[in-house]
C-alpha cells in the first residue's frame, strides 16, 4: 500500500514539458501521406494540427486544361479506392450542364456499381480501422477476401481493378458481360453471411469496444456545423443521406434504411459502416431484379461543348457528399472544375475529436473518420 502511494507521489511531482511530434507524412496510421503535428503532454494530446498537401496534384487546374471526356479518368484518381463513385457525380454534372439523357439500364448499372463500391470502400475502412486498433492484418485480410470479389466484378465490366473509368456522359462505357449477373447474385447472396461473420469477430470484441466506445466523440451539433457528411455525420445521429434526401439516378425506386448512430464516437462510425453494407446488399438485390433491357449509352458528341452555364451534382459517396461544380464557357474544356471533397471537410473537427485523448486513441479516431488522401489533397 505504501509502495503504491509513494509511486503516485513521485509521478505527480514529475515536471513534464509539452513535446511536439510529427505523425506522418509517412506513418502507417495515416493511410497515405498526411501529417498530424501533435503536441503531447506525456501521452496525452494537448494540441494537434493537420498538415495537408503531400499528395496535391493540382487535379482541378489539370482538369481545366483537358476536355470534358479526358477528365473522367482524372476523377478516378481522387478517392482511388472508390473510383466508381468518383466517376458518377462528375458525369452527372456534365449531363446536367449539357442536358444529356441517360438510358434506364445505365442508371441501374450505375446504382449497382456505386453500391458495390460502397461495400468495397467500407470494407477497407473497417479493415484498416481494425489495423489501427492493433489487430495486425487479420481482420484486414477477412475484409479483403470479399473486396477481392467486388474487384473481380469491376474487372468484368471495365477491364480494370483499381481505376475503372467506367462511367460516360449519357450512360456507361460497356454493357455488362453475360457472366456478370450470376457472379453478382452469388456475391449478394453470400455477403450478408460475411457481414455477420465480421460482426461476430469484431462487434462484441472486448478490445474493440474498450478502444472505440466513447472515444473521439463528434457531437451532433458540431457535425452539422463542420459540414460533415457520410457515415461520420450519420454516426453523430443525423439522418441525412443524399440517396434519400436528394435521390439521383433511380435511388427513389429502392427500399432501404439509413443506419444512424447516437453517440458519435468511433464505435458508432464503425457500426454505421457495417450496417450500411447490409443496406447496400438490399439495394443491389432490388436493382438486379428490376434491371431493364436496352442500351447503356446514349449518343453524345465526341467533342462535347456544353452551353454556357454552371452545374453542381452531388452523390452520397462512400465517404460522404462528393460533389462537382462545373462552369462551362462553351469550349471543349471546363472553365471551372471544382470538387467538393468529403474526406477533407470531414477532417475539420479533428482537433476537438482528438484533444485530451492519448496518442493511441488519436490514431483510432483518425482511422474511424476514413479519409482517402487522394481526395483530401486532390
Amino acid at each position: 500500500m505504501t509502495g503504491i502511494h509513494c509511486v503516485r507521489i513521485t509521478i505527480m511531482a514529475l515536471k513534464t514539458e509539452p513535446f511536439v511530434i510529427n505523425l506522418g507524412p509517412l506513418h502507417p496510421s495515416t493511410h497515405g501521406v498526411f501529417r498530424m503535428r501533435a503536441t503531447l503532454d506525456g501521452e496525452v494530446i494537448i494540441d494537434i494540427e493537420p498538415v495537408f498537401g503531400y499528395l496535391h496534384r493540382g487535379i482541378e487546374k489539370l482538369a481545366e486544361t483537358r476536355t470534358y471526356k479526358q477528365d473522367i479518368p482524372l476523377t478516378d484518381r481522387l478517392d482511388y479506392v472508390a473510383s466508381m463513385s468518383n466517376n458518377l457525380p462528375y458525369v452527372m454534372a456534365v449531363e446536367k450542364l449539357a442536358g444529356i439523357q441517360v438510358p434506364e439500364r445505365a442508371e441501374y448499372l450505375r446504382v449497382i456499381m456505386a453500391e458495390l463500391q460502397r461495400i468495397a470502400s467500407h470494407l477497407l475502412a473497417v479493415g484498416s480501422l481494425a489495423n489501427d486498433l492493433g489487430t495486425f492484418f487479420t481482420p484486414f485480410m477477412y475484409m479483403f477476401r470479399e473486396r477481392e470479389k467486388i474487384v473481380d466484378l469491376f474487372e468484368m465490366v471495365s477491364g480494370q481493378r483499381l481505376l475503372y473509368n467506367y462511367m460516360r456522359f449519357g450512360g456507361v462505357s460497356h454493357d455488362i458481360p453475360d457472366e456478370f449477373l450470376p457472379a453478382l447474385e452469388k456475391f449478394a447472396n453470400r455477403m450478408p453471411g460475411f457481414i455477420d461473420e465480421y460482426d461476430q469477430l469484431l462487434a462484441e470484441n472486448e478490445i474493440l469496444l474498450a478502444r472505440t466506445k466513447g472515444v473521439g466523440i463528434l457531437p451532433k451539433k458540431l457535425a452539422i456545423n463542420i459540414s460533415a457528411s457520410g457515415p461520420v455525420l450519420r454516426a453523430s445521429g443525423v439522418k441525412w443521406d443524399i440517396r434519400k434526401a436528394d435521390p439521383h439516378s433511380v435511388y427513389d425506386r429502392f427500399e432501404f434504411d439509413i443506419p444512424t448512430g447516437s453517440a458519435g464516437d468511433c464505435y458508432d462510425r464503425y457500426r454505421v459502416r457495417i450496417e450500411e453494407m447490409r443496406q447496400c446488399v438490399r439495394i443491389i438485390k432490388q436493382a438486379m431484379e428490376q434491371l431493364p433491357q436496352g442500351k447503356v449509352l446514349n449518343k453524345v458528341p465526341l467533342r462535347l461543348r456544353p452551353p454556357v452555364g454552371e452545374a453542381y451534382a452531388h452523390i452520397e459517396a462512400p465517404k460522404g457528399e462528393l460533389g462537382f461544380y462545373l462552369v462551362s464557357d462553351n469550349s471543349e474544356e471546363p472553365y471551372r472544375f471544382h470538387i467538393r471533397a468529403p474526406s477533407l471537410i470531414n477532417l475539420t473537427a479533428i482537433r476537438e475529436m482528438i484533444i485530451g485523448w492519448k496518442l493511441a486513441d488519436a490514431i483510432v479516431t483518425f482511422g474511424s473518420i476514413d479519409i482517402c488522401l487522394g481526395e483530401v489533397d486532390r
Binding site: 498537401g53 459540414s227 454552371e310 452531388h314 461544380y325 472553365y335 467538393r340 475539420t348 473537427a349
Partner: protein
C-alpha cells in the same frame, strides 16, 4: 428531393432588411454584395422557415474581371437548398468576409480558396496555405497563372 429555392423567393424575404445588399436575383441563385454577405448568411441560418444550417460547398471562380464566390447552402431540417454568390472586383489582394464564425465547415474550404485562388477571408481564424507550401509564388487556379511550359 432537396428543393432548390429560387433566388427571387429568398430575395422577397431579404428585401426588408437587406435591400441594398442584393445585387442580382436569378432563378436559381442570389448574388449579394460582399459587404453584406455575413449579415445575409447569418439571417439565412437563423430565420425560422429557412434554417440553412449546413454549408455544403464553397468555391471560387476566376472570371478575369472579377472573382465569384459560390456558396451552396442546405437546410437539413427543411431539405431545401440555396445558391448564393458574391463578387470581388479587386485582383490585387481581394478580400471577402469569412463565414467560419457561422459554419465551421468553411474553415478548410476557405483556406483552399486562399491558397489556390488568392482570395483572403476577413475574420478567418487560421488563414494560411493548405495544400501548397509557404513561400509558393502565385495562385494556380487563377486564369492568368503562368506555370511555365
Amino acid at each position: 428531393m432537396t428543393i432548390a429555392l429560387s433566388g427571387s423567393k429568398i430575395a422577397d424575404k431579404l428585401k426588408e432588411q437587406f435591400a441594398e445588399g442584393i445585387v442580382e436575383v436569378s432563378r436559381d441563385s442570389l448574388l449579394v454584395k460582399s459587404e453584406s454577405l455575413l449579415d445575409i448568411a447569418s439571417f439565412l441560418k437563423t430565420t425560422p422557415g429557412l434554417n440553412f444550417d449546413y454549408l455544403s460547398c464553397i468555391t471560387a471562380v476566376d472570371y478575369k474581371e472579377y472573382f465569384e464566390l459560390v456558396y451552396h447552402l442546405v437546410s437539413l431540417k427543411h431539405n431545401h437548398s440555396l445558391l448564393i454568390k458574391t463578387r470581388c472586383y479587386q485582383r490585387v489582394e481581394p478580400v471577402v468576409p469569412s463565414l467560419v464564425s457561422l459554419w465551421r465547415g468553411a474553415d478548410f474550404q476557405e483556406r483552399e480558396i486562399f491558397d489556390l485562388m488568392g482570395i483572403s477571408f476577413d475574420g478567418h481564424p487560421n488563414l494560411k496555405r493548405i495544400f501548397l507550401w509557404e513561400g509558393f509564388d502565385g495562385h494556380p487556379l487563377r486564369k492568368d497563372y503562368n506555370y511555365g511550359t
